[in-house]
Each structure stands twice: as structure tokens, then as C-alpha cells.
């Protein structure tokens, strides 16, 4: 598999010995020794993806920039919060970005109106096939896996992840019971994991 496959996305796998992986972890080691060039390198590798996710969630580039800044400053100030055993640096930074973006979304006063509008739009839009991914092979695999999901699962994941909604809010938007949405998100995510692992994007997926 190509470039960032098994190496960087090998989630819970403890036996990581790939150079690619070591280099991200080694980067964080250097960051913990205040080597700014290491932070610059981490930024070069991941800032685009972090910014892209923030902008997609917040629809506001200035806010998204703020988030990127916070995420990388936190990496600089508290590098020990990143635990390479728990997953990749990219997943960690993106999770930081997602959490912060969602906090902003939920804090905003105009939330209700925007919800009405955006939920409908996202719910109808389906998976954005044009959404470009920088790693070509992984991109095509993720795209295929997403398209293969049952549409209810896909819609629930989209609304939650890219819409920044809680599963209860997703339930309201889709007019489905909360419990159903909760399970669909879980089963959809697990299905993605299995599908991606099958395609060689190694997210150590030994659990069923």
C-alpha cells in the first residue's frame, strides 16, 4: 500500500516500527525539546488538513485559522498530550481541531437558524465526491468505503462529523429515534474501519 496507508493510520496497533510513523513521533520528541523546526515540519505535514476540516465545519476561514493556531500552539506547549501509542499525529491534531470547532459551533447564538438551514443542506447533499484528498490512493479507498455505506449511516456520520451535531441533534434532523442514530453512527464507523482495513488502509481492525 502506498505512502500513508498502514503506517500512519494504524490506530490501535502497538507494534509500530514503520519509518513514516517513527518520523511523526520523533517530530513530537523534538518539539518537546523546543525545536521549532520540528513544529514547522509538523505544520507542513498536517496544517492543511487541520485547516480544511475547521473551515468545513465553521464555514469561516478566519475562525478556522484561529483553530489551527490553537491546535499547533497546544502541540508546542503540551507535546506530551500526544501519545503515539494511541494513534497517529494527524488523527490527534484533527480530533483537536474537530473538538474545538464543534465547541465554537455549539456556543454560537445564531446556532438555531443555521442549524435549520445547514442540516437540510447537508442531509440532502450526500457525500461530496469532489472533496479532494491529498493522498490519492487512500482518498479513493475512503471515497469507495463511504459510498458503500448504507445511506442512513452515511447521512448520520456526515451530519455528526461535518455538521458538528450531536447524535440527538442528528436524530431531530433526520426525524429518527435517538437510539437508532446512535447505533447507526457506531455501526457506520465500524463498517468504515472494516472496509478500510480490507482495502489495505491498515486501521488495525481485529475486533468485529
Amino acid at each position: 500500500m502506498f505512502s500513508r496507508g498502514r503506517t500512519r493510520y494504524s490506530g490501535g496497533d502497538m507494534s509500530r516500527n514503520d519509518l513514516d510513523e517513527v518520523s511523526d513521533a520523533a517530530l513530537v520528541m523534538r518539539i518537546s525539546r523546543y525545536q521549532q523546526d520540528a513544529l514547522a515540519e509538523a505544520y507542513r505535514r498536517h496544517a492543511g488538513a487541520v485547516f480544511g476540516l475547521g473551515r468545513r465545519l465553521l464555514s469561516d476561514p478566519a475562525l478556522a485559522e484561529e483553530i489551527v493556531q490553537e491546535v499547533f500552539l497546544r502541540l508546542w506547549n503540551q507535546p506530551e498530550k500526544f501519545d503515539p501509542v494511541r494513534g497517529s499525529l494527524r488523527a490527534y491534531l484533527l480530533a483537536q481541531c474537530h473538538g474545538r470547532s464543534v465547541d465554537r459551533l455549539r456556543a454560537e447564538s445564531s446556532r438555531r437558524q443555521r442549524e435549520e438551514r445547514d442540516l437540510r443542506r447537508t442531509a440532502e447533499a450526500g457525500y461530496d465526491l469532489e472533496h479532494e484528498v491529498w493522498d490519492l490512493e487512500v482518498a479513493s479507498i475512503v471515497k469507495d468505503a463511504m459510498v458503500k455505506l448504507p445511506s442512513e449511516e452515511r447521512a448520520a456520520i456526515e451530519l455528526a462529523y461535518f455538521g458538528g451535531k450531536t447524535y440527538r441533534e442528528v436524530a431531530v434532523a433526520l426525524e429518527q429515534p435517538e437510539g437508532t442514530v446512535k447505533s447507526r453512527i457506531r455501526s457506520g464507523m465500524r463498517r468504515m474501519r472494516t472496509e478500510l482495513a480490507k482495502s489495505g488502509v491498515g486501521i488495525a481492525g481485529e475486533q468485529s
Binding site: Y9, G12, V68, L136, I203
Partner: protein
């Protein structure tokens, strides 16, 4: 805090990894995680899935890094000497002062080395920018209905990917090859009889466009001192065109 059983928490983990649970549920999950390796592993994996969903080739806005670097320079960090925080014992003071000396030496070394480093980073950034335009094109090529993907593999763990389009343009995506200290990577096409034609070259790992107008059965990469008409070294990786 609300109390949830392992089963209830398990049920919530998908939503949790997407930040799609309520605050009290989140607190309950986070209280549970330290004691439950199974849930922790699940969270780690689902977060990787989420990261893959978020993958995008957006570029961070220009100037943003400068602002981050500035704010780091403005507020010098506290001395971070307790890195081995779990191992602090009665002999800690000795370790700390040794670490302090190392830190000071490192700082001095860094200042001396700063210019060289800056130079290197700038070159890398320029290369990355040049690459990202090619990545966009390669990505578009991949999405073309008739484009063809060739996977190149070598003896080591390295991988490369070539996208061949109907219109005769090819893109070589070889980003995790070793950086070359002099010399070039040269791409070859082999016909069914094994005759080689040079298709293109690149000085460092990255993404390169090449001429894919002729029929080839195989793609190969060699390391050459400079662009040559026939390879002078054995291929480091190759892949068959299906």
C-alpha cells in the same frame, strides 16, 4: 456525573469519536476510558477513521505559520525539564541539572544551526508547494473514469503510485522515497519485450508529471547520477501496468 455501563458506553463510542455526544455523556466516557483498554483501542481506531474522512488537500492560508511562529517567539516556553515525568525520584535534582545543561547546549547549537535549518525548511516548503499543484492534477487524473493506477513496489517498504490517463499524461506519486544526496530518480517504461524508455525524472521524492503516451507493460524507477538514456543501475522499484 451520569453513570453508564460498559455496554452503554460502547454504544456511544462512534458518536463520541465524532464529538457528537452531550457533555455529560462525554464525561462519563472519559471517566471510563482509563480503566477499559478495549474501549480505548476502539476510540483510537475510530478516531483514525474520522481522520481519514477529514483528509483533504486543503492548504493552510499563507502567513498563518508566521503568526504561530511569532506567538511562540513572543512567549518563551517554561523550561520543560520534567519530560520523564513518570520517573522522577529522589535523584531527580541531578537528572534535572544534567538535562538543564543539555538544554542549554542544544539551544546554543540551535542558534548556530538556525540559518542552515531555515534554508533547508524553505527549500522543503518550496518543493512541497510545487508538489501540491501536481498532487491536485494527479488527484483529478485519478478521478477520470478511464485512468489507470500502477502500484510500484521495491525491496524495502517503499511504495510509489503512478496514474496514467487516456490523454497520455502520467503522474508519478513517490513521496516517501529516501531523499537523494545528489543524483535523480528516473522513471522508465518497459514494453512487452523489455525494452526501456526514459519517461521522466525527479530530483527528490514528490509528485511528477510524465509522458504516458506510449504503451508500456511495466514502470520502473532507478537512481541515476543524472538523466540518462538507458539505466546504469538496477531498479529500486517497479510495477506492472495491468
Amino acid at each position: 456525573m451520569i453513570q453508564l455501563t460498559h455496554e452503554q458506553i460502547d454504544e456511544l463510542l462512534g458518536a463520541y469519536c465524532l464529538d457528537a455526544v452531550d457533555a455529560d455523556e462525554r464525561d462519563a466516557i472519559e471517566a471510563h476510558l482509563p480503566d477499559c483498554p478495549r474501549c480505548r483501542a476502539e476510540v483510537a481506531e475510530l478516531r483514525e477513521v474520522a481522520a481519514l474522512l477529514a483528509n483533504n488537500n486543503t492548504e493552510a492560508p499563507e502567513g498563518l505559520w508566521d503568526r504561530i511562529a511569532d506567538s511562540i517567539d513572543d512567549t518563551p516556553p517554561p523550561m520543560r525539564l520534567d519530560v520523564g515525568r513518570r520517573r522522577r525520584r529522589e535523584w531527580a535534582p541531578i537528572v534535572l541539572s544534567a538535562a538543564a545543561i543539555v538544554a542549554i547546549l542544544l539551544l546554543g547549537w540551535q542558534v548556530l544551526d538556525l540559518h542552515r535549518e531555515n534554508d533547508r525548511i524553505q527549500k522543503e516548503v518550496a518543493a512541497a508547494n510545487a508538489n501540491s499543484a501536481a498532487v491536485n492534477q494527479a488527484n483529478a487524473a485519478l478521478l477520470e473514469p478511464n485512468s489507470q493506477v500502477v502500484r510500484l513496489t521495491g525491496t524495502s517498504d517503499q511504495r510509489a503510485l503512478a496514474v496514467l490517463t487516456d490523454s497520455g499524461t502520467g503522474y508519478l506519486v513517490a513521496v516517501n522515497l529516501p531523499t537523494l544526496d545528489g543524483g535523480i530518480y528516473e522513471l522508465w517504461g518497459a514494453d512487452s519485450a523489455g525494452a526501456l524508455t526514459a519517461l521522466g525524472s525527479m530530483e527528490q521524492p514528490g509528485v511528477a508529471k510524465f509522458d504516458a503516451s506510449r504503451d508500456v507493460a511495466k514502470l520502473l524507477i532507478t537512481v541515476e547520477p543524472s538523466f540518462v538514456e538507458q539505466p546504469t543501475t538496477a531498479p529500486i522499484m517497479q510495477g506492472s501496468v495491468v
